[in-house]
Amino acid sequence: MSTPVPNLGAPHPGATSELTVSDGLIAETTEVAAAPGKKKRKRGLGLVFWLATSWLVVVLICAVFADLLPVKDPLTPDVINKLAYPGPDHWLGTDGLGRDTLARLVHGARVSVVISVTAVTIGMVVGGFLGIIAGFFRGKTETVLMTIINIILAFPALVLLLVLLAFVGRSLVVISLIVGFLSIPIYTRVARATTLAVAEREFVRASRTMGAKNSRVLAREILPNVVLPVAAFGLVAMGVVIVLEGTLAFLGLSVQQPAPTWGGMIFDGKRYINEAAHVVLIPSIAMFLTVLSLNLVGDALRTRFDVRGSNL
């Protein structure tokens, strides 16, 4: 079977870019011979990277300290001021019930962060573990594991998610757990591919042939080299999970109202798109910026830590 990459907890295949510089119809790329001993060309992470990181830090702070931050109550309606434009009273305006958009954004960040962090952590830890096992020990373990994983991946992810939600129910915890559980296969795949590449490297082969214990090689050589690429992937995956929450909100399956979530805010705001487009625009921008930042940061880190020769 061809190997489907799922779309849950997995970045779009195109989200992981190769920073290739080229000159159109190049005759040949003869690489600039890196002189031995000279350090590789240092590539700074750039302004955009730091802007993105800062935005993510802001979102994180909002999520953690939502209750302490000097914002209005996200649930208190202010009917006179409903659909208000951004102004001194409500910095980012109000929604259809007159609830303060800024406050709802700040509190909504919590849902996004909890879901994405939980899901990504579960997927990364379990999937990463399985992938390292498969990639390191190869043989039957790998065959069985990857077969199961490929079968799970044969389901469009959202379909699996919906089916599970139908049976298991929905709350912040349940949604996070299910999404995390469903993203295990893709991490397994990434971790396995990375492990395979790392295990092929000189120093790992050397220490294996010199009779180092498997556990030692795993802990000292493999793990440190696999963690960073997988974590970079996890960052991009967080963006996917955040979008997923939005999707669930649209389907009426996200965390129950009235707790604010970004997806819920966009969904509610859609109703007022004619009269007050900012109600839908502002949470959309927040979500967009967050996902974009995660993609940017994840991508930059991935390019740095990439040990794999090819895609997955």
Partner: protein
């Protein structure tokens, strides 16, 4: 033949997928009998009766065989809610989802192929940078956001395309296309970005190949090099990913069909999930998974036509 060689693996995958669908919907909590009867009629005797009727007390393998046997003859049972045959409900809605999905892929490819090629051809230039950052940005825009903005522009502001509703192709082809356009576009935008980036990367790699240099020294024009020499070898991962992304499109169709009020399979799945209509969920999930597997199988076969190295039995460096 290549198709025949791949057939066993297809059958195995289909079996595995059906088994997983079955287990998922059978083992998870929730008693269908309770659902059918409704809370007030659910006396223990009545539940036992319904369970016996549905064969829910048989051992799992027996239940699986019965279910898959029926499914193979096109009998997926009846909806617990509406008593509508599941198969009929699906067949009614499949064309809508398929049309929107295929249209989305076509739009995405129609845009992505020339744009991705241009970006690769002009790699490193401003054109390329604009294309690359735009597509990178588009990856961060969820399909529901795209849908909202498309509705805002084309329905609310310009009023040229309907925001909701569906017209069957057989009723009115033009209206049908108009009702499919915005949903398809909503699904296409992200795909476009994915394809563009992928094609750009692969094309840049191809353009650095010796055989492109050779084509240049033959005196072949750049346009011909791009389209005749470089496109095909650059499109392998594009094809594979396009197949894989069908999963994203199916997932997306749940959202898009809900947003645009289209009578498609995605909407059917959502409704049955919300109403906990288990047999319907089971049937739809099976059909979706099977279609997905079959699409990817087909892509695999097409792939072998695109890349002679595969159909001629040598292992080629697959991406």
């Amino acid at each position: 033949m290549y198709v025949l060689r791949r057939l066993p693996s297809l059958l195995a995958t289909l079996f595995a997928v059906s088994l997983l669908t079955f287990l998922m919907t059978s083992l998870l909590p929730g008693d269908p009998a309770l659902q059918i009867l409704g809370a007030e009629n659910a006396t223990p005797e009545a539940i036992a009766e319904v369970r016996a009727e549905l064969g829910l007390d048989d051992p799992l393998p027996v239940r699986y065989l019965a279910w898959i046997g029926d499914a193979l003859t096109g009998d997926f049972g009846r909806s617990y809610r509406t008593s509508e045959p599941v198969a009929e409900a699906i067949i009614d809605r499949l064309p809508v989802t398929a049309e929107v999905g295929i249209l989305a892929i076509i739009i995405a490819l129609l845009v992505a192929i020339p744009v991705g090629m241009l970006s690769a051809y002009r790699a490193g230039t401003r054109t390329d940078k604009i294309i690359s950052s735009t597509s990178f940005g588009l990856l961060a825009v969820p399909n529901f956001m795209v849908a909202i903005f498309l509705i805002l522009i084309f329905s609310v502001t310009l009023g040229i395309l309907p925001a909701t509703g569906w017209v069957n192709f057989t009723d009115d082809p033009v209206q049908n296309l108009r009702s499919a356009l915005l949903p398809a576009l909503s699904l296409a935008i992200a795909e476009m970005a994915v394809y563009t980036r992928l094609l750009r990367t692969d094309m840049i790699a191809t353009l650095q190949q010796d055989f492109v240099t050779m084509a240049r020294v033959k005196g072949v024009s750049n346009r011909r090099i791009l389209f005749r020499h470089a496109l095909r070898p650059s499109s392998f991962s594009l094809m594979t990913v396009a197949g894989v992304q069908v999963g994203a499109i199916i997932g997306g169709s749940v959202v898009i069909e809900t947003l645009f009020a289209l009578p498609g399979v995605g909407r059917l799945l959502l409704d049955s999930v919300v109403q906990r209509d288990l047999l319907m969920v089971q049937g739809v999930a099976l059909v979706i998974a099977v279609s997905y597997v079959v699409v990817n199988f087909t892509v695999d076969i097409l792939y072998s036509y695109l890349d002679p190295r595969i159909s001629h039995g040598r292992s080629a460096a697959r991406v």
